[in-house]
Amino acid sequence: MTFNRFHLLFVLSALIGSLLFGCGGGGEGAQSQSAGAGASSPTLAWDPPQTYVDNTPLDPYRELDYYEFYVSIDANFTDNDVPVAQVAAISNVLSQDGRSYTQTLTNEFSLDNLLPFTQQGTVHYISIRSVGVDGLKSNFSAPVAWSLT
């Protein structure tokens, strides 16, 4: 059984239209992967960062706060894009004896949570950003394509 402090922050549905259909601009751009969606949505996975942008070491257990999730029909994400969800960087997993919690790095996320921000028959791009405990955000990760058929 898993208790975690995940919490999704779904922004106003009014943002969906502009988010899904209005993104553009620069960003890292490179599409890294695509996958089809069946009856059940795939899981988004990633490797948590271990460094800061200047290559100094980062302790993700202490220095990461959460991740932001971005969805768009445009693979180029910019600072004008608005996150549709966020999840804590650390989750507390209940031990088998039920007496204690173990901190675990969050490294996956069910895309079912993002379905409200998608449209069937459309390829969407997903990117995430890590946010440090001091509030500074990383660049966008290289996006992945998510084909909703």
């Binding site: 996975a45 490797d47 001091d134």
Partner: protein, 126 residues
Amino acid sequence: MGAKFIIRTLAFVLCIVVFSVAAQAETLSWSAVTTYTDGSSVGSAAVTYTAVWSTSSNLGSPTALASSISGTSTAFNVTTAGMPRGSTVYFGARATVGGVDSALSTPLSWLVPSISPSSPANLRLQ
């Protein structure tokens, strides 16, 4: 050892130097102690230094950065030292001669630099 007393509090000339290299070490340095509190020279006596940091401006609950070193600087890494990025920390140092400690220096405040984390890697669907 004669009637030498407490070592003179460091005339602190602390400076933080951030090296823009991959290793990204910061360096805390201070001026050498040369005299006792009575003004007499330390002479050739061995002087060692202990450097500490704290989130408290009065250096309460200090954490050691370096202990009993003979040099007048010490390198540290913000993450390894556990310093809170984006917050102010305070440094202090004391000298020791012949087993006698000086008072801690006047605290030096330093804003621990905030840096963006790297982006998550290997984003994938599975």
